[in-house]
């Protein structure tokens, strides 16, 4: 195992090392309790009836037969919920209209996608619950589904929502209702002049399919509404507070009446931020007075929980013969699914983010279609928009006969560069990533063999900060329990505890991190947006500094000296003035910890931070592929992922994020797609036919961590989770072009798509 610290982290004791994660033993012994593992006395099992149609008006729902079935205790529909207003609630890193949140949880007058929840039952046993939903009779008036983003935008298209008008950024609304929920635009410079300056202009259109986050754990939600009016919720969520703040208004409860306990979570990638089952479990519990557990099966997960947007995109980009990019025009139309809220905004802001292009226009459209409401998925919006722009950039380099890596270096944003959306970069590692890729053994090697090709692409993601809370107490033996509100999806207990340990000067093993419920820790935003190690680490740092101050005060009391004469060193030695006999006075952390209880009591440090200086992340990926020209199949032969992590707190988990992001990106590139028939029926709603990469589909993924510390964080942390999903698709596309000379224009670049673009093209 690699244990050496990087040059950047050698100055630290804990940061940059690879301790065993604190929750590890529970997770290799099967002891860890995930959401579906919960069992409560008297617990009922729930099940959801879902729409067989993509677009239909609900004429009537008859639940009487289901209610009459032995063992069924409650059946609910949308009508059983309090009326939801159009007030806007915080849904994680974004906001949503409460009535749309409710309607997505359970349909009101219309079903808007196949799998849309229509009714839910609670029964003594999940087999009975399953039987019961078969007895619910729903009459539908089936409507024409809207399944393509371009069709949806056309005047005269069937409408999903009669009340939806196109909103512009200036707050104005279109006169007529539309499926286009909003339009945004960023501009910079003079587009026409920029294209006039170009020697070569390339324009391409792209289509990408919806793709699912694909976490292995299906959604679950368990609720117990008690006689005193309080509601307990246990669920696998990326944000316990978001669940609280969604469930409470849907049931017209105060947040103080709702306690959400985040269970261990089996993956999320953004998809476990919205609520789906929790409000249903809560209402069923309210109706029955008993705890109710709801779980989804895999088909439900794929039909009804947030994938990322399918898109239609058009990019025109021009460059001078020397490789200088002069202008770029980007058109992005994103499927939002059934309700507004695609990640087109972020996609638009990321589209050209790595490059300093003087003349730009980026238009984005958020469009509703009869497909599941999209949810955040790892760098939401960026894998699509950057696929389009990186692909055109690669073609420009090819057309100009330039090295695509050199051309990127030539146009790369550096500190002080400004994006079209107005952001100005601080310290970033854009160029450093490109240079590390250039120096990598992979880029330096020569690729040989027929039908093989190499591709490269760059990726950018903002990373976010926001609110995190923590507290920790010092036990008499010098160990420190650390209390957190961030769900641990990939080792963040460890990465946050390490920052506390570093600040206190103790070992990572002496910190014991715990993730607790919404009543037991201060407000903490979702685990997502690559924010957790950044913001949680900030909170841990502040918590540790609070402890350090209090320990200095305590030592001063013991030594009967001024606090200003006591200093807590980074070596965890608390030093005071000399005593009356002229001897040095000092405590180790453990020595002072042992005296706390007899010198005034325990010490608790706490912090609540709300930081946004999260520091953008860049990544450069290199991939070699081999294409079977007879079958269209692409095999990934070799993969190198370079990424700026700021500071790699736990390098093994940084590598893991990079490798995992590559895996999802390669899946999106090659095989993952939502395959609908013309009626809007998703035909591949299983892990058999929604094809995520298996162990046999990937080579080892070589991670190269670049560390350009983020000046906006005490330890220089930048988020690492999201950016690695962005470069794989455009890099693979370039590699395919390099191998067989065909430039694909859709995702996924499946064997079928490649055959259609090659040997079957003329048929």
């Amino acid at each position: 195992m690699v244990t050496a610290q990087s040059p950047e982290t050698e100055k630290y004791n804990v940061i940059g090392t690879r301790p065993i994660r604190h929750d590890g033993v529970d997770k290799v012994t099967g002891a860890a309790q995930y959401g579906a593992d919960i069992s409560l006395p008297g617990m009922l099992a729930g099940r959801v009836l879902r729409s067989p149609h993509a677009h239909a008006r609900i004429v009537s729902i008859d639940t009487s037969k289901a209610e009459a079935l032995d063992g069924v205790l409650a059946v609910i529909t949308n009508a059983d919920f309090p009326r939801a207003s159009d007030e806007v609630i915080d849904t994680g890193e974004g906001t949503a209209q409460l009535n749309w949140v409710l309607d997505n949880v359970i349909a009101s007058d219309k079903v808007l996608y196949k799998g849309h929840a229509v009714a839910a039952v609670a029964a003594t046993d999940h087999h009975i619950a399953e039987d019961a939903i078969e007895l619910i009779e729903v009459e539908y008036d089936v409507l024409i589904p809207v399944l393509d983003v371009r069709d949806a935008m056309v005047d005269g298209s069937p409408l999903l929502h009669d009340s939806l008008h196109t909103g512009e950024m200036d707050g104005s609304k279109s006169d007529n209702p539309s499926n286009t929920a909003s339009h945004l635009q960023f501009t910079k410079g003079d587009l026409d002049a920029g294209f006039a300056d170009a020697d070569v202009v390339i324009e391409r259109e792209f289509e990408t399919s919806m793709a699912h986050q694909g976490y292995i754990e299906p959604h679950n939600g368990t609720a117990y509404y008690r006689a005193d009016g309080t509601l307990d919720v246990w669920t696998s969520t990326q944000g316990a507070f978001v669940v609280r703040d969604s469930v409470a208004p849907l049931l017209q409860l105060s947040p103080s009446q709702v306690k959400v306990t985040p269970m261990e979570i089996g993956g999320g990638f953004g998809g476990k931020i919205p609520v789906y089952l929790e409000p249903l479990a809560a209402l069923l519990s309210q109706k029955t007075g008993r705890p109710v557990k709801l779980t989804m099966n895999r088909e439900e997960v794929l039909l009804a929980t947030g994938p990322t947007s399918g898109t239609y995109m058009r990019v025109r980009m021009g460059a001078k013969r020397d490789g200088t990019i002069t202008a770029a025009d980007v058109h992005l139309a994103f499927e939002a699914g059934a309700y507004p809220g695609s990640p087109v905004g972020a996609g638009a802001m990321c589209a050209l983010a790595p490059y300093d292009i003087p003349n730009q226009r980026i238009d984005g459209y958020d469009v509703v279609v009869n497909k599941p409401k999209t949810a955040a998925y790892r760098a939401p919006g960026a894998p699509q928009s950057e696929f389009a722009t990186e692909s055109v950039l690669n073609e420009l380099a090819e057309e100009l006969g330039l090295d695509p890596l050199e051309m990127r270096l030539q146009n790369a944003c550096v500190e002080g560069a400004q994006r079209a959306d107005g952001f100005t970069y601080g310290v970033i590692g854009n160029v450093e990533c490109l240079q590390a890729a250039q120096d990598s053994p992979h880029w330096q090697s020569e690729l040989q063999g027929p039908n093989r090709g190499r591709g490269i692409a760059q990726g950018f993601w903002f990373n976010i900060g926001f609110e995190s809370s923590a507290y920790a107490q010092v036990n008499g033996d010098g160990t420190v329990p650390l209390v957190l509100g961030s769900t641990d999806i990939g080792g963040t207990r460890a990465s946050i505890a390490m920052q506390l340990a570093e600040t206190l000067g103790i070992s990572a093993e002496d910190v014991h991190p715990h993730v607790v419920d919404t009543n037991s820790v201060g407000y903490t935003q979702v685990t997502g947006g690559s924010r957790t190690t950044f913001a949680g680490g900030w909170a841990a740092y502040e918590t540790a500094m609070d402890i350090r101050r209090q320990m200095e005060e305590r030592a001063a009391q013991i030594w009967e000296c001024d606090t200003s004469d006591v200093s807590y060193g980074d070596d965890a030695i608390i030093r005071g003035p000399q005593d009356e006999d002229g001897n040095d006075q000092q405590f180790t952390f453990k020595e002072l910890a042992a005296q706390l209880v007899t010198s005034g009591g325990h010490i608790v440090g706490r912090a609540d931070v709300n930081k946004t200086s999260s520091g953008p992340a860049f990544a450069t990926h290199i991939v070699d592929v081999e294409v079977d020209p007879d079958t269209g199949k692409v095999d990934v032969l070799r993969y190198t992922a370079v990424q700026d992590a700021g500071t790699a707190i736990h390098p093994a988990y940084v590598e893991g994020q990079m490798q995992g992001g590559v895996s999802q990106g390669v899946g999106m590139a090659l095989n993952e797609e939502y395959y609908y028939d013309e009626s809007g029926d998703l035909k591949n709603a299983s892990l058999l036919d929604y094809r995520m990469p298996t162990a046999l589909d990937l080579p080892m993924i070589e991670p190269i961590i670049v560390e350009v510390p983020n000046p906006g964080h005490p330890y220089g942390v930048r988020g690492v989770g999201e950016v690695p999903i962005i470069p794989p698709a455009p890099a693979v596309r370039a590699a395919i072009a390099n191998a067989i000379g065909v430039h694909m224009t859709e995702l996924p670049m499946s064997p079928r798509a490649i055959l259609d673009a090659t040997v079957l093209e003329d048929e």
Binding site: G171, L184, A376, F423, T424, Y425, I464
Partner: protein, 87 residues
């Protein structure tokens, strides 16, 4: 004095101006100052005690997370961007 960058679609509210200057120690004060010249813009940027629906403000590249009371350093550059979410 701070600089406020106006994205293309909001220039309907600023008589086409793309860059404005304003005074103010925090976001609320800056928006109030902008409102003296461009009342529709100020209306768009504020929603009660919050920043306007669906948009975020960024001060020197960092998205504002503490709302209208967020301090604005002298000479800062403020960008108006759509809300971003992460996975």
């Amino acid at each position: 004095m701070v600089t406020v960058l106006i994205p293309q679609p909001l220039r309907t509210l600023t008589d086409g101006e793309s860059v404005l200057t304003a005074e103010g120690h925090n976001i609320r004060a800056v928006i109030r100052d902008l409102g003296r010249r461009y009342p529709e813009l100020a209306e768009r940027l504020v929603n009660g005690s919050r920043i306007g629906r669906g948009i975020s403000l960024a001060i020197n590249g960092d998205v504002v997370s503490t709302g209208l009371i967020t301090k604005v350093p002298e000479g800062a550059e403020i960008a108006i961007v759509p809300q971003i979410s992460g996975g």
